[in-house]
């Protein structure tokens, strides 16, 4: 049976596991119909021209976790930023692991989507925010239809999350192939602040397909920093759908570090709904082999005096392929918008590919919008210069690549996270040098 049919026909079984009388369930029922109608995207759609899911969809995925699997912290410690005190929301094969998690209800809520969906206490938040900005496309609707588990984070007005929050999804590979559909909701009320680090990690080479949806609401003057670490096994594919709505004078940033996995597609959407907003989208992609990373971004400016800054760096070796498709829409009312987009790429091999496409739709006449794209190679003169100072070729290349991505790394606000990412890059490039001296 094809995956689509299997998913649609599994919906009845899924309904046995949730409260079908809840208001949310109407949304789910609606969503499965949309998925049934639209299905998975194909290369015929403009937005999916360079990314094919065909090879990923052919596996016989188990859709619901069959059993609870446990993991010992010592075995997976390295996937956490463990030298930093954080809240943790940890899932193993789609099931919440209370053993590995550290949640809170003290002033802020850092807990589970499943409890937020089923307890009255959260009803008004769910009614106000759940599925309000998520697109009605096939993949997002599929996630909505099966939405049950994920992270729920609520930071009330004037509150500061006292420490960063880590959301980690492990897949143990005990199933021969597994599909995961986490659903996260993050609400930062007026004048609040929160930092979140998200990671998807499979623990062996069995195929995993994650179709994740995250809705983030950033109210007036709030600050949300979201960091995505994508450094998964070679058979793990990720479709990451993130929707962010910002109100006046808020700042939201998303950093995406894409170092691994099979096919990774990031759909990152920012909707600005007030004045004085700043949206920051940064990314570093370093891939090789046959890896594929596709960044599809949207920033929609609707009100005057807002900014957006996009900076994506990509390094592609061997037969790796990258896609950057960055769309900026500036409504007629959104005068004095400053929207910047840059996408710089280094190809280390003749067989590596990058498709870079800016899309600017500007309807206001008093704006500053710019986009730039470069595709190049490492500079031989710079390499010789470094080698002549005793730095071997491999290390010299790594240092140049690190330097190339440096301004994105500089904007990471959590020092321990920055150190960790530096180490991931060093590992990725196969060198043992301290970049961050």
């Amino acid at each position: 049976m094809e995956l689509k049919e299997k998913l649609v026909s599994s919906f009845l079984a899924f309904e046995n596991t949730v409260d079908v009388d809840a208001a949310v369930h109407d949304i789910r029922s609606q969503a499965i119909k949309i998925f049934e109608e639209k299905g998975f995207p194909t290369k015929k759609e403009e937005a999916w021209k360079y990314t094919s899911l065909n090879t990923v969809l052919k596996h016989d995925y188990s859709i619901f976790p069959k059993e609870e699997n446990a993991l010992e912290f010592k075995d997976i410690k390295k996937y956490f930023i463990h030298d930093l005190d954080t809240y943790k929301i940890v899932f193993i094969d789609g099931k919440y692991s209370s053993h590995l998690s550290e949640t809170t209800h003290d002033k802020i809520d850092v807990c589970l989507m499943s409890s937020a969906l089923s307890h009255d206490k959260y009803k008004s938040v769910i009614d106000t925010y759940f599925n309000k900005i998520a697109k009605q496309d096939g993949l997002t609707s599929l996630n909505t239809a099966f939405s049950k588990e994920g992270a729920y984070i609520f930071i009330p007005k004037n509150k500061l999350a006292d420490k960063p929050i880590q959301i980690i999804h492990f897949s143990t590979g005990k199933e021969s192939a597994q599909m995961l559909q986490p659903r996260n909701l993050i609400v930062a009320e007026e004048n609040s602040q929160v930092q979140i680090v998200e990671r998807h990690q499979s623990l062996n080479d069995n195929p995993v397909l994650t179709n994740s949806v995250t809705e983030i609401f950033v109210d007036k003057n709030a600050i949300v920093d979201y960091y995505k670490i994508q450094n998964d096994h070679q058979n793990a594919s990720l479709i990451d759908n993130t929707y962010i709505e910002q109100q006046a004078n808020s700042i939201a940033s998303v950093h995406t570090f894409a170092f691994g996995g099979n096919i990774t597609r990031n759909n990152l959407n920012f909707y600005q709904k007030g004045e004085g907003i700043d949206s920051i989208l940064n990314g570093v992609t370093i891939i090789e082999g046959k890896q594929h990373v596709d960044h599809n971004t949207l920033v929609h400016h609707t009100e005057p005096n807002c900014e957006s800054h996009q900076d994506y760096k990509g390094i592609f070796d061997e037969k790796a392929t990258g896609v950057f498709n960055g769309k900026i829409i500036v409504n007629k009312e959104a005068q004095k918008t400053n929207a910047f987009q840059s996408n710089n790429n280094i190809l280390l091999s003749d067989k590596a590919t990058i498709n870079s496409k800016p899309q600017l739709e500007i309807f206001a006449d008093d704006v500053k919008c710019s986009h730039g794209c470069t595709i190049g190679q490492l500079d031989d003169n710079a390499l010789f210069y470094m080698k002549s100072r005793g730095i071997a070729e491999k290390e010299a290349k790594a240092l140049l690549m690190y330097a190339f991505a440096n301004n994105v790394l500089e904007s990471v606000k959590i020092p321990q996270l920055k150190t960790r990412i530096n180490k991931l890059i060093a590992n990725k490039l196969g060198v043992n040098i301290g970049f961050d001296l």
Partner: protein, 250 residues
């Protein structure tokens, strides 16, 4: 220390060095002068190990060991240093980070432990004072936005940090005003010892008033055509290169 025998080298099929001989002993300073296009910078790059140049004949020996097959970094590990005529700008790598990496990678290759952070800082402080380099300068991206003089001073700072056995200074005087020239020359002189050697490549005699050479060579059309002492440099300054060309062609 450095012995170059009958060196022929070409780039993209064009022969640039045509049988060059040079013998530099420890404790000596040699100056190589010559008109534009004579092959001075090619010689510097070849000794440092730039791969674009093909050595078609001859040998380069460092302490009696043939280094011709060694990669640039391996030559650096053996104590070869090139002060670049045009230092490369490397955005995103600070001067300090670059030097730490260079020194520790060299130490690793020599089988030594990494230099302790405290010693590294002390050394950076000492050597930057020697070259009268502002601390703030050290946390800037390597050569990015540096003036010509700052770039050259930074090259000699790197030389001071690396403590090479053989330093080749390629047109270090170009782009320097007189004060900077004095600081750079003073730095080089302080680094000079009986155990190391310096080859100064220059177009003009000016630098040699401050870094006084034991020997002066004239490189013309890919060969050393005349050698002498520091007086030769003065003669070249006064009379230009035409008389040498005439002597050769006669």
């Amino acid at each position: 220390m450095l012995e170059i025998k009958d060196l022929h080298a070409s780039v993209e099929g064009k022969e640039i060095l045509k049988g060059l001989n040079l013998n530099v002993k420890a404790g000596e300073i040699h100056a190589i002068m010559g008109p534009n296009g004579a092959g001075k910078s090619t010689l510097a790059s070849i000794v440092a190990g730039k791969e674009e140049y093909e050595v078609t004949k001859g040998n380069i020996l460092l302490d009696n060991e043939d280094i011709e097959e060694l990669a640039a970094e391996e030559r650096a590990h053996k104590g070869v240093f090139l002060s670049f005529q045009y230092p490369v700008e490397i955005p995103g790598v600070t001067v300090t980070n670059f030097m730490k990496t260079a020194i520790n990678e060299t130490r690793k290759a020599q089988g030594l432990e990494e230099m302790p952070a405290k010693d590294m800082l002390k050394k950076i402080r000492e050597k930057s004072e020697l070259l009268e380099i502002d601390r703030k300068f050290l946390s800037r991206s390597l050569n990015e936005g540096f003036s010509g003089g700052e770039k050259k001073r930074n090259e000699i700072f790197q030389m001071a940090m690396m403590e090479p056995k053989l330093a080749i200074l390629d047109e270090t005087d170009s782009g320097l005003d007189i004060d900077a020239l004095r600081i750079v020359a003073n730095g080089v002189n302080k680094l000079k010892s009986n155990d190391n050697a310096i080859v100064v490549i220059t177009h003009y005699q000016r630098l040699l008033e401050y870094i006084v050479p034991d020997f002066v060579h004239v490189l013309y059309d890919g060969k050393i055509v005349k050698s002498g002492t520091k007086e030769l440099a003065l003669e070249l300054e006064e009379k230009g290169y035409d008389w040498i060309k005439e002597e050769i062609n006669a």
